[in-house]
Structures are given as structure tokens and as C-alpha cells.
Symmetry: C2
Subunit: 197 residues, 2 copies
């Protein structure tokens, strides 16, 4: 009974299970272990359900934002996770991920491959309000976890406040409100000794 | 700058991080470890993006399906995960989860608490096409993982094919197609010796 189309869809679904084993440089709130990409993607998708009112643009297509957040890191099944503060491995990140996107979405039936690859490209290009808001949530989440777990990642990697600000400032394009919140949170983190000035 | 409303939203976001530590009785495809609820929720949300064409009802509200899948297990932050085949702990599952839903969604500002609690209730009630399709995906995913990881959970808990069928048959209400697929997959699993007849 299984059609070729359905087989391709199931192959993709089984393949992306590997995202649960791609480890990020962010720890859980309780600091017990590092977060993986699948969990992170779920977390920011739920954040999108709650925080859309803080987007710079009103009337965002919420379904489109969710699709981007659920899929934005799927390429890491092939390309691995690139730590935001690792400038060496970020050099060829774009080309590695672009090639990975072709391979991973290429598993799907062509209509779905085209649609989802398009969603991924839209997120990467950062030109639509949906992409910019999705990116703001993607940038916000590790800061929220970092503050809650007393700076696990900042301390582990000796990261300074200015580095965080430099890497996060583009989130203002998606949400001035959330960017102001991040700046406040980082100030508090410095005052509490869990992030270097 | 932080409003009371925003503080409540962030409290919820930090609280549900605990879902990453609620462990299910399903292993990853590679069998390396058991899956947690946050990862599971992400996986079935991506499945919803790909498999809507197999729903019994055409023209489903995809955003509503995604909201249900992202939130359906949030109550397990308080109530814990209840194994489908554990009849003892399933006795009071409904009342435990109902009480947990009130507490967890009650963290949110009242308008969002009402909306998301409503989404959760809709999933639980299993009366709308969106809820029935979401439930079919929730039931399908562990079978797909179980077949791929050579019956980790079925072997660990000595589960028989008929028990799986009994617990999964309601998924036909959401998708006859996916239910037929599950029946096929379980037959294959028996033939390959990873599930008892």
C-alpha cells in the first residue's frame, strides 16, 4: 500500500530524528545537561505562540513563523551545530548549510521539498517580517536559558557581555521589545557575576 | 521595562523547559537513549507539516493542529509522562492531567491561558477533525521510531502486537491511511522478530 511519495515523507521523518543528537552550546534551565537542536526548535515554536504581540510588525503569518522555527535547524542533521561565538567554524557555515539544505529537503517529494526549502531560504535571507521575528526568538531563547541556568554557556566559554550584544543585536529587526529585554537581562547577568562585562 | 504580562509569559517559557527532562518509553531511531517529551513534540509537529494530506478530513486548520501538537504534553511538566501500556498509572491519568493543565496554563496572562487551555482541551476531547488528526500523529510517531530502532520499547516492556493495535486503533478517526500504515508496519515488525505476535 505504501506509495513512493509516502515512503519519501517517512524517510525524511526518520532521518530528522538525528536532530535529537545534535548538541548545542546551551544548557537546560536546571543546568543538568546541554540542549539538543530538536528540543530547542520545540521551545522557540512555543515561544512564537506566546510572544507574537512583541513583533515589530503586526499581523504576522503565524503558521509561516512556526514552519520556519520547526525547520530552521534541520540542516544541522548534516552540517552539525555551529556555535555562535566560534568565528573559525562560522567562516564556511553558510556554504555548508546551503549544501546540506539541498540534500536534506531533497529527500522529500518535489512539491514539499520546494515548499520547505523555500521556508528555510526565507528564514536565512532575513528579509520578511516573519523571518526577522523568527530569528529574534531563535536569538532570545539561549539568553533566557543562560540567565536562568546562571550563565552556564557564558562561563564555560568565557564569553563577555559585548560579544553577546554584538551577536544578538540583529534581533532588533524582528522585535525591538525583545531586544530591549535581552539588553536588560544581560545587564542583570553582569551585576550578578554570571557574565563578564 | 518588564510588564507584568511579559513576566508571566517568560515564567511559562522558563517553566516548560522541564519538559526536556520528562522521559518517554520510546527510544531514538539509533536506540542510543530514550526520547523526551520536548523532542517528541517537535517531531510530531514537523510530521504535521508533511502528512496533512493523509487526514480523513480535507482543509484542516494546520495552525490549530500545530498548536495542539506543541502543547498537548505540556501538562507532563507537572503530571509526568504516563506510559500508554501502563494500565495502573493510566487509571487517574485524566484527573491528574486536568488538574495539571489548570496549574500550568494558569501561569499565563488570562487571555492566553484561556486560549491555550482551550487548545489543550480540544485535543483531549477528540471531537474536532484537527484534534483527531493530531492524535493520529501522536500515536504514529512512537510506532515509526519503534520499528526503526528494532523494537526497543516493545522488547523492553514485552509488548504484544495486539496490545499495540488496541491502543492505537483510535487513530483511524484522524487518518485511515496512517492507521493502515501502522497495521502494516506492525506485521512487518512481527515477521522480523522485533514484536511478539
Amino acid at each position: 500500500m505504501e506509495s513512493e511519495r509516502f515512503a519519501k515523507q517517512m524517510e525524511f521523518i526518520v532521518k530528522i530524528d538525528e536532530l535529537k543528537s545534535v548538541i548545542r552550546q546551551t544548557a537546560l534551565v536546571d543546568g543538568s545537561r546541554q540542549e539538543n537542536v530538536a528540543e530547542h526548535s520545540w521551545h522557540i515554536a512555543v515561544m512564537a505562540l506566546l510572544l507574537t504581540e512583541y513583533a515589530n510588525t503586526e499581523g504576522l503569518d503565524q503558521l509561516r513563523v512556526l514552519k520556519m522555527l520547526l525547520l530552521h535547524d534541520v540542516v544541522e542533521v548534516i552540517a552539525g551545530d555551529t556555535f555562535l561565538y566560534d568565528d573559525d567554524s562560522r567562516v564556511d557555515q553558510e556554504s555548508r548549510e546551503r549544501e546540506a539544505a539541498g540534500r536534506i529537503f531533497g529527500i522529500l517529494p518535489s512539491d514539499q521539498a520546494e515548499e520547505l526549502h523555500g521556508i528555510w531560504n526565507e528564514f536565512e535571507a532575513q528579509r520578511t517580517p516573519e523571518a526577522m521575528f523568527a530569528k529574534a526568538l531563535d536569538a532570545l531563547q539561549p539568553v533566557v536559558l543562560g540567565y536562568a541556568n546562571r550563565g552556564w554557556s557564558w562561563r564555560t566559554h568565557s564569553i563577555k557581555k559585548q560579544e553577546v550584544l554584538d551577536h544578538k543585536k540583529s534581533m532588533a529587526k524582528g522585535s525591538e521589545y525583545l531586544w530591549a529585554y535581552v539588553q536588560d537581562l544581560l545587564k542583570k547577568a553582569v551585576n550578578e557575576g554570571i557574565l563578564k562585562e
